[in-house]
């Protein structure tokens, strides 16, 4: 039993953090809001060269063949900077979904292209009404009931929908399933979509940890500098307790997120429930960080100028993605309340 990350995993996290904090600033995020695609091809190519895009692509297809445990800390860092690029879904949803398909030319070719930075794929899951980053993708992985389809991206088939988070680029897709685009169906397809949901939710949970941390950092800095009544407002209990509450929720959300990553990487039979624990805990931490962070910023927190809303809006937007709170709480409730539930003192860890 060991809950720690390896030295390599921690070093990778550190170098990715350094890179992202330098490259993805709030100024660069605001600048991208004004561009047509909202995305930077240059940044994506850098992510490809660092091996991030192909991290979970099998080695045979030119990737690093790593898993969710290797990537979870990096997804956290993507959240910390509110990375606009669709990296987390690409690594945690698209690549594992394609990799889980039986070997075929289509599967291998697209995985190879992804890892090499020659193609991007966006994913549409029935739990998410819209497709993130469909506009920069070369192909779309789409769901039709239990079927998995890989469809060539066509501009005329997509329509942009604005998000509360100006960095998010969401699209509705018009398409009709055809036998030629179907890669999996029946129980196999259903299992793939469930896996995609779990990986997507893990990605949201991990990003939420980073978002919460960023909002704490911004708020602690602001309340340590801002003076009222002749003192930094952060010295007042009414202010610091808001931040302590966030710190507790954030610290407590980390272990379940890592646990969920491990369960997915090791095909644990209750991985779905572990993912639900993680998503509930991590998104609640991020939402509380947004609420309390804005509160302790006072009126400044309500402005467009102060950076808080960049992270708060990402947290709000991601909260409903890959199964909303109701979905995940219902899944946990079913697990706890079913007739032969694996509860009890000796099942708290294994189950």
């Amino acid at each position: 039993m060991d809950f720690t990350f390896t030295e390599d995993q921690l070093l990778f996290q550190e170098s990715v953090r350094d890179f992202l904090v330098n490259e993805v600033t709030t100024e660069s995020i605001r600048a991208l809001w004004e561009t047509k695609t909202g995305r930077s091809d240059e940044l994506w190519q850098q992510l490809v060269e660092m091996g991030l895009v192909g991290m979970t692509v099998p080695e045979a297809q030119g990737g690093l063949g790593m898993n969710a445990v290797d990537f979870v800390l990096l997804a956290q860092e993507c959240g910390y900077v509110a990375l606009p690029e669709n990296l987390v879904e690409t690594v945690l949803v698209v690549a594992p979904l394609l990799a889980a398909l039986p070997e075929s030319d289509v599967r291998n070719e697209w995985l190879q292209k992804m890892a090499a930075g020659e193609a991007r794929i966006a994913v549409g899951h029935s739990r998410n009404p819209l497709v993130s980053d469909a506009h920069t993708a070369d192909a779309w992985l789409l769901q039709h009931n239990d079927e998995v389809h890989l469809v060539k991206a066509r501009k005329k088939n997509m329509r942009r929908n604005e998000s509360v988070d100006p960095s998010r680029r969401l699209h509705s897709i018009e398409w009709a399933p055809k036998p030629a685009t179907c890669l999996a169906k029946g129980p196999a397809g259903k299992a793939l979509w469930m896996q995609a949901l779990n990986y997507g939710a893990l990605g949201v949970a991990a990003q939420s940890l980073g978002l919460a941390q960023r909002m704490i950092d911004l708020s602690v800095k602001y309340t340590s500098e801002r003076q009222q009544f002749g003192k930094p407002i952060g010295s007042f209990q009414a202010v610091k307790h808001h931040m302590a509450n966030v710190a507790v929720q954030l610290e407590y959300a980390k272990a379940p997120v890592y646990r969920a990553a491990w369960s997915l990487a090791n095909n644990h039979r209750h991985a779905g429930v572990h993912v639900s624990h993680a998503k509930i805990a991590a998104t609640e931490a991020a939402l509380l960080a947004a609420r309390n962070g804005i509160q302790v910023h006072g009126a400044m927190g309500y402005t467009w100028e102060v950076d808080m809303h960049i992270f708060a809006k990402r947290a709000w937007a991601l909260d409903g993605a890959w199964g909303d709170r109701a979905f995940h709480k219902t899944r946990v409730a079913k697990f706890v309340l079913k007739d032969n539930a694996l509860i009890g003192a000796s099942n708290t860890f294994v189950a």
Partner: protein, 394 residues
């Protein structure tokens, strides 16, 4: 990261499970699921016997080093021990303050002679301990200790005068570790000593405090020229020793507590299924939340304990109390809501609470004892987040 138990660990699990099955029978059968916080007044004598029974089987102090009479169990094995102990419904330990607090403090800070003198009594389950920290004027302001210690030049022993309060299980204990002021001119955390005081002497008076449950597990303890048997560390080191001990309080001992929580949650789930509450969408959601909160606690404890570098331990230890206390307070409320209108009905006259009522009421104290939620938030914000310190009165 590897979140499974080894084969050896699973063998250890079978061993402890079998021992409990074979021994938690006969006179001890009635102790199942009894004792522990909120139920400490039940079966004190029988539970003292059980403590010695455990000792005979070698199941006290499982995490202590072998040289001090422990089992030298790994963290994994301690986790398993607490899981199986709770699963069997074995009773709340009357010896937990000695095993979890006094013993580890002596192992860390005591002299070899003190270890030889005090540890065997804890291991054998024959000597019980209580903790003398809080005072009428030292609650949240824990360092505002007024109890005085004076060295008697003739006997070479320290003499203690003052009062402690909220002392759990003092009325059942043989020994108390007492923080007292060795330097009368000192203030706050300076000039304190950490003393070991026998409860069986004329200078010690214990007066139980009747709680809002109508029962008593906390006490006032008065020291009138009580003689301290020993001092741990030097005069002036008391705060350092006491704070080291709070570290133990948040370490492995948390595992046992979580297992008690699991038993309580299981009981609530059982009732909810039986009375139909489990079909109510609002209550289903709250049960899911309670389950999730307990898993969080569990995973955090495991993460904390498996990080030997101490980095995660410090941060997690800082937030631990606030999280579990708030979670448990909510669990109490959930229990009452699952019972619905039945929740207010006492088990019997004159004022006998049901187990869950007792739990509900006890959880009102969880967010106060051992550092109130408000004090915890100050510590988290100032030490954990580095926020500016609040101006202090002295």
């Amino acid at each position: 990261m590897k979140l499974t138990f080894s084969k050896e660990d699973e063998q250890f699990r079978e061993e402890i499970a079998a021992w409990l099955k074979a021994n938690l029978v006969g006179e001890f059968e009635q102790l199942k699921f009894r004792g522990g916080p909120g139920d400490e007044h039940m079966f004190p004598e029988e539970r003292k016997q059980w403590e010695q029974k455990l000792a005979e089987g070698g199941w006290t102090c499982v995490g202590w080093p072998k040289e001090y009479g422990g089992r030298g169990a790994s963290i994994e094995q301690q986790v398993i021990f607490f899981e199986e102990y709770a699963r069997a419904g074995a009773p709340g330990r009357v010896g937990h303050i000695g095993e979890g607090l006094a013993g580890p403090t002596l192992i860390a800070f005591g002299t070899e002679a003190q270890k030889q003198k005090y540890l065997p009594g804890i291991v054998s389950g024959k000597e019980l301990w209580c903790q003398g920290y809080s005072e009428p004027s030292a609650g949240s302001d824990l360092a505002n200790v007024k109890t005085k210690a004076r060295l008697d030049e003739k006997t070479g022993k320290w003499s203690i005068n003052g009062q402690k309060v909220w002392t759990s299980l003092a009325h059942e204990s043989d020994w108390c570790f007492v923080v007292a002021r060795t330097d009368p001119d000192s203030v706050a955390h300076k000039g304190l000593g950490f003393f070991l005081v026998s409860m069986h002497q004329p200078g010690v008076t214990v007066r139980p405090i009747e709680q809002l449950t109508g029962t008593s597990e906390f006490n006032e303890v008065f020291f009138d020229d009580a003689v301290a048997e020993d001092i741990v560390g030097e005069p002036g080191d008391g705060w350092k020793v006491a704070m080291g001990l709070l570290g133990f309080e948040r370490g492995v001992s948390t595992l046992g507590q979580q297992m008690l929580f699991q038993n309580e949650l299981d009981e609530i789930v059982r009732i909810a299924k039986a009375n139909g509450a489990a079909k109510d969408p609002v209550l289903r959601q709250r049960i899911a939340e309670a389950h999730t909160g307990l898993r969080l606690m569990r995973y955090n404890a495991m993460r904390m304990l498996s990080d030997t570098s101490g980095g995660a331990l410090q941060k997690a230890a800082l937030v631990y109390k606030l999280h579990w206390a708030s979670w448990h307070r909510n669990l109490g409320a959930l229990a009452m809501d699952v019972l619905g209108p039945e929740a207010e009905m006492l088990e019997s006259a004159p004022y006998n609470l049901t187990r869950l009522q007792s739990m509900y009421l006890f959880t009102r104290s969880d967010t106060i004892y051992g550092g109130t939620n408000q004090i915890q938030r100050n510590i988290i914000a100032e030490r954990g987040l580095g926020m500016p310190k609040e101006p202090k009165g002295r």
